[in-house]
């Protein structure tokens, strides 16, 4: 029997997920699940879905995908702001400024690199500075999804594709290309940086907690039509002493405006759930403070034309990817929220990050100007079974 184009794509996606899982924990993907890497999805023994076809999950990990190692960044990771400033100077200046007697000049110099006229700084207003681009990923391999395979003509901008580590072509992940050599993404030893650890913390603390509610699931192996509610909850997850999410916890989808609740549709093929492209908007709270405080700042987490690709695991969990196009600012908004402190304390050159992302933007194309303001992205997702209440007062909507 001939397979349709859609089925072929799904089969490739399944293979990609399987490959991704087979590689074991990606950077940031070493979730709490501890489930063994799996091979072909069709070989796995999956549990039967509940009789009512509803299954709830809480997202236990959502982290940037990084192919581990240092090979992707042959020139090293992106320098800190102080060194980035030095690189803008003639080589003979480097030695002079590093002399002890010139230390104050050196400090003043690189710190002034973070500021502009009228109190502006490179993290609060990165788009008004003209800093050189940062080092980008040189490897042809990345985790991710083929986002533009079915894209409408002229809806994306020119870009290079990656291949997955197992050889699948057409992987779109310009966020990884742009940011994959920063210390925040890759870490000192290539095993992952603060961005992944921070993400895990934000999810487990309840600041970003996301839930999935699957409806109409007849089989975890193959099902042509599944509804997926992907939403935020203000309920905190329960975690063990290692920060791993516990299963069987009840959550209620936020019911206060603005309500971040995305209803997606998808299907299950060979144990892999894939949703159709659709804009996904969720919220993130940065810190536990009030909304007017940076420690309680609310922001959006957007995935334009986003899609989920999640494999059901024998232990009842989900593992896979969420991909889509992210507005450029969203990628570095955590750094922007820190303002000048991000530049001076963490040494991050937000202006350079911004410029690099802008150059590599491949999605959210303005039909009038032809400019793209979004970057393709893929994040690793893990989710554990939970009871998800879609309507707070409902009696029949909790599902695990």
């Amino acid at each position: 029997m001939m397979r349709s184009a859609g089925n072929r794509r799904l089969a490739r996606c399944s293979a990609a997920i399987a490959a991704l899982l087979a590689l074991g924990p990606m950077t940031g993907a070493s979730g709490p699940l501890g489930s063994p890497a799996v091979g072909e999805a069709t070989d796995r023994t999956l549990p039967r879905p509940p009789a009512n076809g509803e299954m709830g999950f809480v997202v236990s990990s959502l982290a940037q995908t990084v192919v581990p190692g240092l090979d992707a960044c042959p020139n090293g990771t992106v320098p800190r702001l102080r060194d980035a400033w030095l690189e803008t100077l003639p080589p003979e200046e480097h030695a002079r400024l590093k002399l002890k007697e010139n230390i104050q000049e050196f400090e003043r110099g690189w710190q002034s690199y973070a500021f502009g006229a009228n109190g502006t700084n490179i993290c609060s207003q990165p788009d008004i500075f003209d800093h050189p681009l940062i080092r980008t990923v040189q490897s042809p391999y990345a985790f991710g999804l083929n986002l533009d395979e079915d894209a409408a003509p002229n809806s994306t901008c020119t870009h290079e594709n990656f291949s997955s580590p197992t050889g699948e072509k057409g992987i779109d992940n310009q966020v990884y290309r742009a940011m994959g050599c920063t210390l925040e993404w890759r870490g000192v030893d290539g095993s992952g940086g603060d961005i992944t650890r921070g993400s895990k913390q934000f999810h487990s603390s309840g600041e970003w907690t996301q839930v999935l509610l699957l409806r109409g699931v007849d089989s975890l192996q193959n099902d042509n039509d599944v509804e997926v509610v992907y939403a935020n909850t203000s309920d905190r997850p329960n975690v063990d002493t290692n920060g791993n999410f516990l299963s069987g916890v009840s959550f209620t989808i936020n019911n206060t405006a603005p309500r971040y609740r995305n209803v997606l549709r998808g299907r299950i093929v060979n144990g892999v759930l894939t949703t159709r492209p659709q804009d996904i908007v969720l919220t993130e709270t940065w810190g536990q403070g009030g909304a007017r405080d940076i420690r309680g700042a609310r922001s959006k987490w957007e995935m334009r034309q986003g899609r989920l690709q999640l494999a059901f695991q024998p232990d009842g969990t989900l593992r896979g990817l969420v991909g889509g196009y992210r507005p450029i600012f969203d990628v570095y908004q955590a750094m922007a929220l820190g303002g000048a402190g991000t530049a001076l304390v963490a040494g991050i050159d937000c202006a350079a990050y911004h410029a690099t992302l802008k150059k590599l933007a491949d999605g959210i194309r303005d039909p009038k100007t032809g400019q793209c303001s979004g970057v393709s992205s893929a994040e690793q997702m893990s989710a554990v079974p939970a009871f998800v209440n879609d309507v707070p007062t409902g009696q029949r909507t909790a599902a695990r």
């Binding site: 063990d240 516990l246 069987g248 009840s250 209440n389 909790a398 695990r400």
Partner: protein
């Protein structure tokens, strides 16, 4: 300057209270730096005699303060616990409870705190109906009008003239030195709250006209017993009035009043206190589990567990008027968000409790399938069929099990990762080969092993160390399977209903199980006749003559003395 004076006066008041404490029931007159306070005996007519003293519990103290002064008056402090006698109720231990010097300090601190709140500017008008002529000076007339009604509520009987004069004088002396009428009232009230007439239920008896030469509890003692037994709080105005009118020694009137009390919503508070005592809920205060072994256990869970059990009990016995025996089989309970993960069930409400019904055939049915019982009768890192079996025998069937000898070798049962003994059943079998241990384990383990499909926090498990768990059990020759089977077996056992009947009578009287045993069988029959309804049981207890009979000799006719401040007087 005034603060110093107040402190001195406070000491004076405390000493006065101490003198009063020593005076109650004691023959000796204690030395005191202040004028000796009149004793309770002085309030009694010659024919009345003190026959027992029972210390009020923390819950009774708090409920009393809330009932008299309002729930917004905070009681801040640590209560010295009443020690539970082996295999008995705390209510029985209260008859023996003394107060240590440190404990009295705590009571004094709480008393001052309560008194300060009662007479602060925002509340004093609720309790002081009169106004002093000059708020900076003593006013004996007004002080008497304020303190006498409060003393009646706190001592659960009218103050004697001597007592009234004493507390008025104390308030006056204090007002004189502090320059504040209300500070005087405050100090006098705190002295009342320190008094043994408040901290203890002083039970008094009078000659029984129906039994010449015998004694019966008098009206005010009956009012107090009814209040604490059925509502776990001090007698309210209606009860005190009934006592004043002598209605509580009239059987017909007593039945009407007790009937009204067991049908009141406040009976739930009393029933909660009874079952908390019967099921040893003080164990929840020290409940601790290893968070590495049991990640689903946390402080929110620990706090919710006793409440879940109490809600189950009261909803079944009071809300539905259910059969006591069905407590061991009911599928109905309540859940919170914190408990949901432990039970692996959905909870819809983000905050608070909601009803939950386990599916038919679920092993969770009944109190014994609840995590509260299962977790307190487990160790911090493992379950314990022995503790569970013992608790079922002792608490629910009133069958005391001897303590293990001091030299027991627990190695076999503690070795939970030994592949040769992967389950508790196999470990206990190895342990019980010791003849010294086998005797008691035969009583407890066949019962407790049926609950092994619940781990040390009461979470479900099908296997231990990858070995399927055998949850078969035996109780008094009856074979059954799992918690569900155990519940059904207990529900059909006459020992469970006799046990709760005995406990109810002990709870009401403060007597031990041996003391009440002559009446238990008859009481259980009447319990059965009512369909094992808990209201009927407590109504019967409240109206049966045995509850009001006096068995013990009056305290002041023998060698019994009141232990106070660590000294035997």
């Amino acid at each position: 300057m005034k603060r110093v004076k107040l402190l001195k006066l406070a000491t004076l008041g405390f000493a006065a209270a101490s003198a009063l404490a020593a005076g109650v029931g004691a023959v000796d007159t204690p030395p005191s730096i202040a004028s000796p306070a009149p004793s309770a005996q002085a309030a009694l007519a010659p024919q009345f005699q003190i026959v027992a003293m029972r210390r009020i519990t923390e819950a009774q103290y708090r409920n009393t303060i809330a009932d008299i002064f309002g729930p917004d008056v905070r009681v801040a402090g640590r209560f010295e616990p009443v020690v539970r006698p082996a295999h008995e109720l705390i209510a029985s231990g209260a008859r023996e409870a003394s107060i240590s010097p440190a404990g009295l300090e705590q009571f004094d601190a709480m008393a001052r705190g309560v008194a300060a709140q009662v007479f602060d500017e925002s509340r004093r008008s609720q309790f002081a109906e009169c106004q002093p002529a000059d708020a900076t000076k003593a006013d004996a007339d007004c002080a008497g009008k304020v303190l006498a009604p409060l003393g009646r509520l706190l001592f659960r009987r009218p103050l004697s003239a001597g007592e009234r004069d004493f507390y008025v004088k104390l308030a006056g002396d204090s007002a004189g030195q502090t320059g504040s009428f209300y500070k005087g009232l405050e100090l006098s009230l705190s002295a009342m709250l320190d008094s043994p007439n408040f901290l203890y239920v002083v039970e008094t008896a009078e000659p029984d006209p129906a039994n010449p030469g015998a004694l019966r509890l008098d009206n005010y003692t009956r009012a107090t017993r009814l209040g604490f037994m059925l509502w776990n709080s001090t007698p309210n105005e209606a009860l005190l009035q009934a006592a004043q009118q002598g209605k509580l020694t009239d059987d017909a009137a007593l039945a009407v009043i007790a009937g009204r009390m067991v049908n009141s919503p406040r009976f739930e508070q009393g029933l909660r206190a009874f079952f908390s005592d019967m099921l040893l809920f003080e164990k929840f205060d020290e409940l601790a589990k290893d968070p590495v072994i049991y990640p689903y256990f946390n402080q929110d869970v620990a706090k919710a567990l006793p409440e879940q059990t109490l809600r189950t009990i009261t909803a079944h016995l009071l809300g539905k008027g259910g059969d006591y025996r069905a407590l061991f089989t009911t599928p109905n309970t309540f859940m919170t968000r914190s408990l949901g993960p432990l039970y692996q069930v959905p909870v819809h409400k983000s905050a608070g409790w909601e009803p939950y019904q386990f599916a038919a055939g679920d092993d969770r049915a009944g109190l014994l399938g609840q995590a509260g019982f299962l977790s307190i009768y487990s160790h911090s890192g493992r379950s314990s069929p022995t503790l569970r079996g013992r608790a079922i025998r002792e608490l629910l069937m009133c069958q005391p099990v001897p303590n293990p000898p001091g030299n027991v070798n627990f190695t076999a049962v503690q070795d939970v990762h030994n592949k040769a003994t992967p389950t508790a059943r196999s470990r206990l079998t190895a342990h019980s080969t010791d003849e010294v241990c086998a005797g008691c384990h035969k009583i407890t383990d066949p019962v407790g092993l049926s609950l092994e499909r619940f781990d040390g926090i009461g979470a479900f498990r099908a296997a231990e160390n990858d070995t399927p768990i055998d949850s078969s059990g035996i109780l008094d020759g009856m074979h059954f399977e799992g918690a569900d089977g155990l519940g059904k077996t207990l529900a059909s056992s006459p020992d469970t209903t006799q046990c709760v009947s005995s406990r109810a009578l002990q709870y009401a009287t403060g007597l031990g199980s041996e003391d009440v045993s002559p009446w238990v069988e008859a009481l259980d029959k009447q319990f059965a006749a009512s369909g094992y309804g808990i209201r009927a049981l407590f109504l019967k207890v409240a109206t049966m003559p045995a509850t009001w009979q006096v068995k013990a000799a009056p305290l002041d006719q023998g060698a019994t003395k009141i232990s106070y401040a660590g000294q035997r007087r």
